[in-house]
Symmetry: C2
Subunit: 207 residues, 2 copies
């Protein structure tokens, strides 16, 4: 069974547990030869997907107990299989959602790491610097390169600690593994949305 | 006496306590008819400023006890008059610097509020939304517009609380007043850098 999670930057496939990724540009030229069960947050691609046979949109099958208006299908899918915990999907954007007894309590959105680097670059050429993945969050930075890496990572981790309190934190998405390293008791789960899609297909008997 | 703080987006003047601002584009056409004592972080403008009589660069007169390599002159000027406290200059970028017994302990840089809004917009058209200045930071957001406003303001305030501990926090810069509202015991001081410039000119007898 082929599953596909279509975002703003990449489309990520899960083909019997094997995960691969392609750019949206390449994805537009991709031709499916068997059923592809997908979720898609990229509005621009929706007409294209509707015109393709073999592409089956799972969006309307998902249900989630929430008061949040307009929760993206990517966030719904990531939360769907989490009974209790904080779900962090770190891609183009970083979404943080809180689940309690299978109810979605709300959530917030941060720019993803590469969007943050671009934001610094847009402010001044002096701030066009790569991220230092070894940055220590325990000491105040002593140079601009560290001041930026600290400025990207430390606010995320500090706020996540406050949001999570004693809940488990599940990281997914392209930068999920990287961010989970800064978080004590953080769990990285590349399959979070795909597992929800698998469960949904089984539960609802989607064909 | 005319003072001028030249940033990446605007040049801000202080003319005998009266503060005014102009865009960098307008500033390039501005002709001084009396001495203008300035600091400038905008590298592109430096040759232009050097060619102007009446423009007096204060940068080399400032001294600050710090281990930080390459601290911008805007941050040096804002910290110069603060003996103990956290200095938050919220402009195109938001710089956070910690002073203790007139020693600079280090600091970090966040993108400014308008750079953050642009970063969201660049990720997806769905995230092109204005900031909700009335956002509550005490409840998890229940819609995307609030998820973004919360995502901009809450990480700044949460990390600032951790950085400041029991120190005073001095806000300055274009968004300083707005941010200070979310911070208990936050002090907004539009004149922070200008007061340092005034003190420096007096102390060193600059003419």
């Amino acid at each position: 069974m082929i599953l596909c999670d279509i975002g703003n930057t990449n489309a990520t496939f899960c083909d019997n547990g094997k995960i691969s990724s392609m750019s949206i540009k390449d994805f537009k030229a991709y031709k499916a030869t068997q059923n592809v069960y997908f979720i898609c947050v990229n509005d621009e691609l929706k007409p294209h997907l509707k015109s393709q046979i073999f592409f089956i949109d799972l969006e309307n099958f998902f249900t989630l107990d929430t008061s949040y208006q307009g929760l993206g299908i990517d966030r719904i899918a990531s939360c769907y299989s989490v009974k209790n915990g904080v779900v962090v999907d770190a891609g183009s954007a970083i979404t943080i959602d809180v689940m309690q007894n299978s109810k979605h309590l709300g959530g917030y959105i941060l720019p993803g790491i590469s969007a943050m680097l671009k934001a610094y670059e847009g402010i001044s050429p002096r701030l066009k610097l790569p991220i230092n993945s070894q940055i220590s969050l325990d000491f105040l930075p002593q140079k601009t390169a560290d001041a930026i890496s600290y400025g990207i990572i430390k606010p995320i981790i500090t706020l996540l600690n406050e949001t999570a309190s004693d809940k488990n934190v599940y990281f997914t998405g392209g930068d999920g593994q990287f961010l989970s390293r800064f978080f004590k008791n953080g769990v990285y789960d590349r399959m979070l949305a795909f597992r929800s899609m698998q469960n949904l297909i089984k539960q609802k008997g989607i064909k």
